[in-house]
């Protein structure tokens, strides 16, 4: 069954939402969405591709006809299996990522931890040492990401000696306190260790 959606003149994200609704309603078949702006065309195409559909676009005057072909039972990719036994250990020895400007380093570290959540496999354990413990304590801007990682099953360990040295012992806000024995064991037994 073919369906046509005339989304000409509608503002973003309307054409995309209407197309998504139509795609959700059919199991299989062709849907044509008509839009009249380049950006709307690209947005609808992006949606269709992300829903694993084939897309064919032709232009008639100032209008774009976007034919979207939905296959029956499209296999969705993903189904990712997070952490647990990935064997991946991430060792973080500083509160900034890389050497160089501190402001940039903090932004990069925040970005790294945030992105870690979105990429598989998740680490099995993350170890925070030296100024790295600034990330696991109250007031850290990375706390939200680390809490989500912990919820996802990642073990978060902070070096007790370091927390103590920086007077942060009572400020730990995510994960557990650890000591050098555990840290050495984790590093020695890790199948893949990333040191930052």
């Amino acid at each position: 069954m073919d369906k046509q959606i005339d989304a000409r003149g509608l503002n973003c994200p309307q054409p995309v939402i209407l197309t998504k609704k139509a795609l959700d309603e059919v199991r299989e078949g062709k849907i044509t969405t008509i839009v009249n702006s380049e950006i709307a065309k690209e947005n609808v195409k992006k949606l269709a591709q992300s829903m694993m559909c084939d897309v064919d676009i032709h232009q008639v005057g100032g209008d774009y006809y976007i034919d979207i072909f939905k296959q029956k039972e499209t296999q969705e990719i993903g189904g990712v299996n997070p952490s647990a036994h990935s064997g991946l250990i991430v060792f973080i020895g500083s509160d900034i990522l890389g050497a160089g400007d501190r402001v940039l380093g903090q932004i990069l570290m925040k970005g790294y931890l945030k992105t870690l959540l979105d990429v598989c496999p998740l680490p099995e354990t993350m170890i925070f040492v030296n100024s790295g413990v600034n990330l696991t304590v109250q007031g850290s801007e990375a706390l939200e990401s680390l809490k989500k990682l912990e919820e996802a099953g990642v073990e978060i360990l902070s070096c007790g000696t370091c927390l103590d040295y920086y007077n942060l012992k009572d400020k730990l806000a995510v994960g557990q306190v650890s000591n050098m024995y555990t840290i050495v064991e984790k590093l020695n037994n890790g199948e893949n260790t990333i040191i930052l």
Partner: protein, 88 residues
Amino acid sequence: MPLTDFFVLAFDSTHHAIQAEKFLKEAGLKIEVLPTPRDITASCGLSIKFHMDHIEKVKEVIDVSQPTVKLYRGLRLERKTIYLEEEL
């Protein structure tokens, strides 16, 4: 969760992004700096994410029509989020 409730502002320049973060925070807006999602191309790699309720205030602080920034609307699908370029 609604299908779409946030925007992402992608920057051409890292310094510009850092400066924008500062201005927006000073204006009291709740925003988040994040690496630009892979789905969005052509940028320095830093973006600012905010709830769509803040769009007017953000526009007061940042000129989103300048060619060095691009505004995207996040759309949550079942398994991923896609980013739709916003027409200005």
